[in-house]
């Protein structure tokens, strides 16, 4: 009784604090908002959503049953099916879902001000992303850990299965291209950054050899060695930067760097996993967890003020980083951190095979997504504590604000965000860079933000070191995603081609490995190449394309979830996944429509293509732009068709699901539920 009262008082307190913090965030005008309010609002929203909404979904919608044995228990083989401690599974799951996406998206979306992005990260995560992850995890757990594509095929029909497979493949291509572009933009003319990122390759190989051959299976020893070497490589980079010969060796334009990344990607896909991919993954996971923790502590310690206004005039679609109005483009730009379809691939297939009890589904499915959302909030804070003038100077491509520093600062200042050439030069020099102008992609501005936060806690004289640490930190797990993605793309392609010619489907047949790896690398390499030669920065084109494809996959996952809920006789509660699905349909369809048909050359692909062709025909383009114009025109048209393809795939899956549901509700036969039968658990609570 007393305990209940205290509980109620506690939850009322959390709710009050949340409402108050939210009001501060949403209504603060004129004076600077402290970043702590953002953190407080976020944490209260997460805690309340987890305690009430997620608990209700688990109990009443999914009917999670703790007495039911999980696939890990029933099919325990000591390898991939292993009952594992709840927090260990949480760690695995979080490390798998959280990549560089939640760091990049919010940084780009900060051009609208901090408010639109923050609201979407919070609301999108608790009502959309976390629900998708949890429902998918639950469905896969009840089906022996089957993958999203298999579940789509078994429960909805062959079309859904095909769509999930194709969708995943194309997302992978776009995702890798855009992430490659982020790394290239961070390394451009930065000997320090380039040499540090390059050093991560031999370091990963050394760690790989160590844990495979020198001390087999000693993962922690090897990782510790790797982390120490990585930190040393950041310091060494500073030395390279000051060495005239070495600095010249690592000082490159975007294009040669892009070719370097492409060559690297091919090598990583062909080399055995133990040499590069697996050890790099250990390093990036440790770096990621460590840095996120340090950043959270530093923000709490420093309590920085947010300098970006709540809403900027760019919500009208005139923003310099990417074109398009706040609706629907804030929802497309921030996919990871709010709702990310890719997570459904991890939540089905891998994680369910480790879970000890269905009771953990809420913690792992819903909880890990909240933590990723929290990372996105921190990225938003790191981007918005910068002076807006500085933020726009770093992130605006040269094609929009002008190539010369003076032009750029004049343009940006004319928007009302004061910034001077001296200020930018000073900032670049304390960060150990030659320039910070036009570093589109999010990594450099995030690194400046992180360096300022960490620098003020741990000492200003280390700013350049922190900046390059942040660049290395982002690059290392971007490259992990690139390696892993290329390899998965290769497997999928081999799987598809294996239907045509069985020999091509063998994953250890060397000619097939080289052929399919080359095809996948050529796919993303093409988009990366176009992104680099595009004077408007490439991110302007690629990031929305990635956002649309990722939201499309989320909509497919939510369709599967909604369809199965309806089939399980829970139609009255299917709005839990149905509403986020409806919202995603609305935003992806609107965004795709605008990307295809808008007359604004910064939004519409066809509009941009015809504008460029006219200028080319009229001979008004400067020679260096005229040389690449035909490729840019072709790419814009290709992107338009690709966008159309995404929307068509999405609608096909949704209509397929609706048709199936309609049949079920009117009593006609549908594919049967493939849920595994009930087996009582024999594991005692806390046995693992």
């Amino acid at each position: 009784m007393i305990k209940g009262l205290w509980g109620r008082a506690g939850w009322s307190g959390v709710t009050l604090l949340g409402v108050f913090a939210f009001a501060q965030v949403a209504l603060a005008r004129g004076e600077a908002l402290n970043a702590l309010w953002l953190l407080a609002a976020a944490i209260c929203v997460y805690v309340i959503a987890y305690r009430f909404y997620a608990a209700w979904i688990a109990a009443s919608v999914l009917s999670v049953d703790a007495t039911r044995a999980t696939p890990a228990e029933r099919l325990n083989n000591g390898r991939d099916y292993v009952p594992t401690n709840r927090w260990v599974v949480f760690g695995h799951h979080f490390a798998a879902i959280a990549g560089p996406g939640p760091l990049v998206g919010p940084t780009l979306a900060a051009q609208f001000g901090y408010l639109p992005g923050t609201l979407w990260i919070l609301i999108g995560a608790v009502l959309g992303g976390a629900v998708q992850d949890m429902v998918t995890l639950f469905l896969s757990t009840r089906r022996d850990g089957r993958s999203l594509g298999q579940m789509a095929r078994d429960e909805i029909g062959a079309i859904g299965g095909m769509a999930a497979l194709f969708g995943t493949f194309i997302i992978m291509i776009i995702l890798i291209a855009v992430l490659g572009l982020v790394v290239v933009n961070a390394m451009k003319h930065s000997p320090w950054g380039t040499s540090t990122v390059a050093a991560t390759i031999p370091i990963a190989m050394l760690v790989g050899v160590y844990m495979r051959h020198l001390r087999p299976g000693r993962v922690l020893e090897a990782s510790l060695l790797g982390v120490i070497l990585l930190l040393a490589s950041v310091v060494m980079g500073g030395w390279v930067d000051h060495h005239p010969v070495l600095a010249a060796l690592f000082d490159h334009e975007g294009l040669p760097l892009a070719f370097g990344v492409i060559a690297y990607g091919f090598a990583a896909a062909v080399l055995p996993v133990w040499l590069l991919l697996a050890p790099r993954d250990y390093l990036s996971t440790f770096m990621k967890l460590g840095t996120v923790l340090v950043l959270a502590i530093a923000i709490l310690w420093l309590r920085p003020d947010i300098h970006m206004p709540a809403i900027t005039p760019f919500i009208d679609g005139t923003g310099p980083i990417f074109g398009g109005k706040v609706f629907p483009f804030v929802f497309i730009t921030i996919a990871c951190g709010a709702i990310s379809g890719f997570h459904a691939l991890i939540a089905s297939g891998t994680t369910p095979k480790l879970m000890t009890s269905e009771r953990d589904i809420r913690t792992i499915g819903y909880g890990a997504m909240l933590l990723e959302s929290f990372v996105a909030i921190m990225a938003m804070i790191a981007a918005t504590i910068l002076e807006p003038g500085v933020f726009f100077a770093i992130n605006s491509p040269a094609g929009v604000v002008g190539k010369e520093a003076l032009d750029a600062v004049n343009t940006i200042s004319s928007w009302g965000y004061q910034v001077t050439v001296e200020q930018m030069q000073h900032l670049a020099s304390v960060m150990g860079e030659s320039t910070l102008f036009a570093r589109t992609g999010g990594a450099p501005s995030l690194a400046v933000g992180m360096a300022s936060i960490l620098g003020s806690v741990f000492g200003e004289h280390l700013l350049a070191l922190w900046y390059h640490f942040a660049i290395m930190f982002e690059a290392i797990f971007i490259l992990t995603t690139l390696d892993a993605g290329t390899r998965v793309g290769r497997f999928m392609l081999q799987d598809m081609l294996g239907n045509l010619h069985p020999k091509l489907g063998e994953t250890s047949y060397t000619p097939s490995v080289i052929f399919t790896s080359a095809l996948v690398v050529a796919g993303w390499g093409y988009f990366l190449y176009i992104g680099v030669i595009d004077p408007n920065g490439g991110v302007n084109i690629l990031w929305p394309l990635f956002g649309i494809s990722n939201q499309m996959l989320a909509a497919i996952a939510l369709s599967i979830g909604t369809g199965i809920l309806i089939k399980s006789g829970k139609a009255s509660k299917a709005w839990v996944t149905g509403l986020p699905l409806l919202w995603l349909l609305l935003i992806t369809t609107t965004a795709a429509y605008e990307k295809i048909f808008s007359a604004d050359v910064r939004v519409g692909f066809f509009a941009a293509a015809s504008d460029l062709s006219q200028k080319l025909a009229a001979g008004v383009l400067p020679p260096e732009k005229a040389a690449v114009a035909p490729q840019l025109i072709f790419n814009q048209q290709l992107d338009a068709w690709l966008t159309a393809f995404f929307v068509i795939v999405l609608w096909v899956v949704v209509l397929d699901m609706l048709n199936m549901s309609r049949r079920y509700l009117s009593g006609k036969p549908v594919l049967p539920l493939t849920e595994a039968g009930y087996v009582a658990t024999r594991l005692e609570k806390g046995a693992v």
């Binding site: 390898r79 260990v88 760690g91 995943t168 299976g217 990871c336 991890i346 891998t350 995603t481 990722n550």
Partner: protein, 62 residues
Amino acid sequence: MMNWFRQCWQHVRQLSGDDMYERYLAHYAEHHAGETDTPPLSRAEFFRQWQDEKWQGVKRCC
């Protein structure tokens, strides 16, 4: 306090896969103890198979 540290360390080892081999041996002893014709894999062999299997399929996200 010492207990708490020990438990944390256990979790770190489990999370990183550092204790995979020990857990494999435990699983082996529990489920396959009678099979004398197939002795348990050596640490190096086990790690090799586990690592190669781990990277089949989608394991990392954006």
